[in-house]
């Protein structure tokens, strides 16, 4: 076990009182320059670190940020949160916080975990991911006055302005992807999305509609909605292409669907395409999230700036935690950050 160096040890060696050491650490400006340097030297020499548990008892601050880690649902999209998690751990450490993990199967059990965690480990704040309509988790934290930030907009009606959030502009991404295809000469550009109602999915679809509108293309009949699995994407793509042979490109709401679309686009059943007007041009496909799978199969995809998103989450949370403002006060005019995804171009488009 590492030999415990307490504040008293530092004080003794530096020839000052315990209190002065504490001041040097917490209120440096109140200590004389010379004393400060001497104390800091001893701190370094002895390898002293403040004990969080003891500090927490006095200040009530644990320097812990809690976040849920999901089971890898689809497996393809799961990696997004994992990369976000890495960024969060990194940024948090720089800001003097550590990340505490928890799991939960659904919103209800997650709220139960909030209570548990708050009562026991007392994390200073939470980072919520996967926000959705009428998210009970946000309401609960808001209600208790627990500081938190969400990675993902609150998609509900009125909730928009009640807590700080960081998000990536999905519609800007799909619009950029669509424009990229338009620039490449495509006009019949389809969209593979999720069933209406999911904030994220609707938003990404909107970007495609907007870009098509900008080029004077009517999106009617050019989109399909399905659940997020490779097989579903393949089926939906096939259906869309069959019903409208003019389709030469597909923008997809996720890499999962895009990988499915790629299968469909390259399948033998589409051999007739070779007698098409553009025989040398296979159906272009663009996915969303730039997952490892996209990289492996050469799929053009939209990349979220996850590291930046994580850094912003920490900044926003730290602002609440360290600012004079309380969580409730900051809820009055919470900060929002909307980042732009970037298109990573590969063989598929």
């Amino acid at each position: 076990m590492a030999d415990k160096v307490t504040i008293a040890d530092v004080a003794r060696v530096a020839g000052v009182s315990r209190q002065t050491v504490s001041n040097v650490l917490n209120t440096p400006d109140v200590v004389r320059e010379e004393t400060r340097r001497r104390v800091l030297d001893v701190v370094g020499e002895l390898g002293y670190r403040v004990n969080r548990a003891a500090r927490q008892m006095r200040t009530g601050r644990s320097q812990l940020i809690a976040i849920r880690i999901d089971p890898d649902r689809d497996g393809i999209n799961g990696s997004v949160l994992d990369r976000f998690l890495h960024g969060l751990t990194d940024s948090a450490a720089r800001a003097g916080y550590r990340v505490l993990l928890y799991t939960a199967d659904d919103d209800r059990s997650e709220v139960a975990t909030f209570e548990d965690l708050l009562g026991a480990y007392e994390p200073d704040g939470f980072v919520l991911t996967g926000t959705h309509h009428r998210d009970p988790r946000a309401s609960w934290l808001l209600d208790k006055g627990v500081p938190f930030v969400t990675f993902g907009r609150p998609w509900g009606e009125e909730a928009t302005t009640r807590h700080p959030w960081v998000d990536v502009d999905g519609s800007a991404g799909t619009a950029a992807a669509t424009r990229h295809l338009l620039d490449a000469g495509h006009t019949h550009i389809g969209f593979l999305g999720w069933p209406a109602g999911s904030g994220v999915g609707d938003d990404r679809r909107a970007g495609w509609v907007r870009a098509l509108a900008g080029a004077g293309v009517d999106p009617t009949g050019l989109s399909r909605a399905t659940s997020d699995a490779v097989a579903d994407g393949e089926a939906a793509a096939r259906d869309l292409i069959d019903s409208d042979p003019g389709v030469t490109a597909l923008v997809c709401v996720s890499d999962s669907l895009a990988v499915g679309a790629l299968h469909a686009a390259r399948s033998p059943g589409l051999a007739w395409r070779e007698e098409d007007t553009r025989p040398d041009l296979p159906i272009a496909v663009i996915g969303f999230d730039d997952t490892p799978v996209a990289k492996a199969v050469g799929l053009t995809s939209l990349s979220q700036p996850l590291k930046e998103a994580a850094a912003n989450c920490v900044t926003l949370l730290a602002r609440i935690l360290e600012g004079t403002e309380t969580a409730r006060a900051s809820a009055a005019s919470p900060a929002h950050v909307l980042l732009e995804p970037s298109l990573v171009i590969r063989q598929s488009a």
Copy 2:
């Protein structure tokens, strides 16, 4: 903020002393049945949770397990650790622990983080991943007497018996994969691996050699070593196939290399294969780790029982933490767990 309920509140409402409440929680058998029930009722009623910080000051136990989260190096193989992490969080919670995350760029900075963490948050133990020859991290923790378990064998010479570890039997996996191919009629089965010297890579290669030997096949000239990237795998596969046209199947040390091999195996340059003795049979490929990419591209792969591995890590660590034995004592005869991977069969083999 959740209203703080202390042990004193519970004691007052239940009409007992603080100490009795503490006893009910920590040494139930020393309290009379009736008192115990009454106290527990009040605990539930008031929603009391022990404050970890306060307990930690007394007991020195934080109920925290620290683990490093890696940047997704390759992106394909990265997902393995992420799935392990989820399992660890889950198992830890069940055992009364929480997972604390940290990042580090290399062994040296990881050791520095150990010091930092130990001095500040005082995690009860560590779970190390990615163990390798002469791992300085294990030595450091061993030296300081800090409890830890590794997910991965200590590959070094003498170190084998100095700390508890959990691992997956890579050579059993590649042997099973090779046997699967032999059973399917393949005889010229190649191996794509990493340069010699990495414990994991050498072990996986050994399984392939062993299985071939069992079938009386000479492995000479049938393997290639390369770094772990898709493009490298493709190049190595092409080289191997070109130099020995008899090769009809490939076992790979990772999904990254396997995906590359798949590209090579399906590339136009191999068209001559159609005039082969088995024209209907493309080159079979088997990967390792059963990553999302494997699933997406239909790659047969070896799946590690990550959830089980994580659970075993927690069990082993908890045994040290909660047993009477000290870390040092348990180091005298540490427990080892070796799990078997399973072959997930898909189109590629």
